[in-house]
Amino acid sequence: MLVRTKRNKLEILVDRPLLRRVRDIALEADIPGFTLLPTVGGGGHHGRWSEEMVTGGAGSKVRFMTLIDDATVERLLEKLEPLISEYSLIVTIVQVEKITDDSNDV
């Protein structure tokens, strides 16, 4: 049977060289899972960028996405705060309904 639960879909736009650190911290905060989503470019206060593998990924970004409950959001943000501040990362949170088979929903 399908179960529907309210979850937060939290996304962090991470510079590729930073990815490993973000992931390790997130796993320490006991998230149940994560999915990495690609980007192709962008622009902001610090200028434009586009995916550029040649420069060792220094200028590329990836989105770290995780579906978590409210308590985990707070735990995760607390742990990530130094990284978010230091590297000016952008985090977004959206309310979603998560649907899975009940045997799968841990």
Binding site: D15, R16, P17, L18, R21, H46, G47, R48, W49, E51, E52, M53, V54, T55, G56, G57, A58, G59, P82, L83, E86, Y87, S88
Partner: protein, 328 residues
């Protein structure tokens, strides 16, 4: 006589397909053409060039054996990659009017090296009958990392700036195991093991195809460099001047050191090329981690869009001329 020689070499080099494809890429990007290489192709070509140059150097060393020159060249390279950042830092702070963090980040780029600049120089020198010694590939690999540490020390002395969250140890590990360092060193060692005979069956890909694939890669580098230049915001005139002066100064120092150590023309020129070149692979990634407040757009623009094109077109023949003048 000498200046004539220089001009001849230079024109010759500027009309070689390698350079012409680079210019084509730059022109296309300046004209805002939508010509673009898929990322995977750029990366593939860059991996190929590293494997090929590593194998080339290794098989050469397999023939000549490990000589004292190899050790000398390694030490010279290390010395250059530690000292160049100091001079660069001073000039960037003073003449360049940059803050400590950005100066330190940029200084690290100039102390480190650019694989493609070396590869192109190596090819051009070889075409002119001045092939550098095979061990210069090992020197190339050696010079990738030390400048990063010097740069971070410079940044830390600048007190107020906190250095990235990541502990120095983890960063060091990541930098030493950077893909380009591993592939270069690994292929070099494979080259040493298999020697000239072992290269034969794989030579069609790694030797015969080299020049043509380098053309394609430089076409892409022309596109990237010109695009970076067009979008560089924080690049001031003073910084552009430094981006052109650094390679000339460092190149001259590198060639002089090579001459003093008794290297042949090609090898001394190659040491000059290494000193003159600026990293755009290992160092930017390390700086993004360690000095997050430094402007990534700026250091990539200086390295890729100012110094790299200068070296490819004018620098390489210039350092060769230095070497010819001082050695022969």
């Amino acid at each position: 006589m000498w200046s004539n020689g220089l001009t001849v070499i230079h024109m010759d080099v500027l009309l070689s397909p390698i350079i012409l494809f680079f210019v084509l890429g730059a022109l296309a990007a300046f004209a805002r053409s939508d010509l673009a290489f898929p990322e995977a192709l750029s990366k593939a070509l860059s991996l190929y060039l590293m494997a090929a140059i590593g194998l080339k150097g290794g098989t050469l060393v397999a023939e000549t054996g490990f000589t004292g020159d190899l050790v000398l060249a390694g030490l010279a390279g290390l010395l250059l990659s530690c000292l160049i950042p100091l001079g660069a830092f001073a000039l960037l702070r003073g003449f360049g009017r940059l803050d400590t963090t950005n100066s330190a980040a940029l200084a690290a780029h100039y102390g480190s090296v650019s694989v493609v600049t070396f590869v192109t120089g190596n090819q051009i020198l070889g075409d002119q009958g001045l092939p550098p010694a095979g061990y210069m590939v090992a020197v190339l690999a050696l010079m990738e990392t030390p400048a990063i540490i010097v740069g971070l020390i410079l940044a830390r002395r600048g007190a107020s700036d906190s250095v990235g969250v990541s502990g120095g140890k983890e960063l060091l590990r990541e930098t030493l195991l950077n893909g380009s360092v591993v592939l270069l060193t690994g292929s070099f060692i494979i080259g040493v093991i298999i020697g000239k005979d072992g290269m034969e069956p794989i030579a069609p890909v790694f030797v015969v195809g080299f020049n043509g694939l380098l053309c394609l890669f430089l076409l892409d580098m022309g596109l990237l460099a010109a695009r970076r230049l067009r979008e560089a915001r924080s690049l001031t005139l003073r910084l552009v001047v430094l981006g052109l002066a650094f390679p000339v100064i460092n190149g001259a120092i590198g060639v002089a050191l090579g001459a003093v150590l008794g290297f042949d023309v090609g090898t001394a020129a190659a040491l000059g090329i290494l000193a003159a070149s600026a990293s755009y692979i290992a160092v930017p990634a390390a700086m993004r981690l360690a000095l997050p407040k430094a402007d990534a757009g700026l250091y990539l623009a200086m390295s890729l869009a100012v110094t790299f094109p200068f070296n490819i077109t004018i620098g390489i023949p210039l350092y060769t001329a230095f070497a010819q003048f001082w050695i022969s």
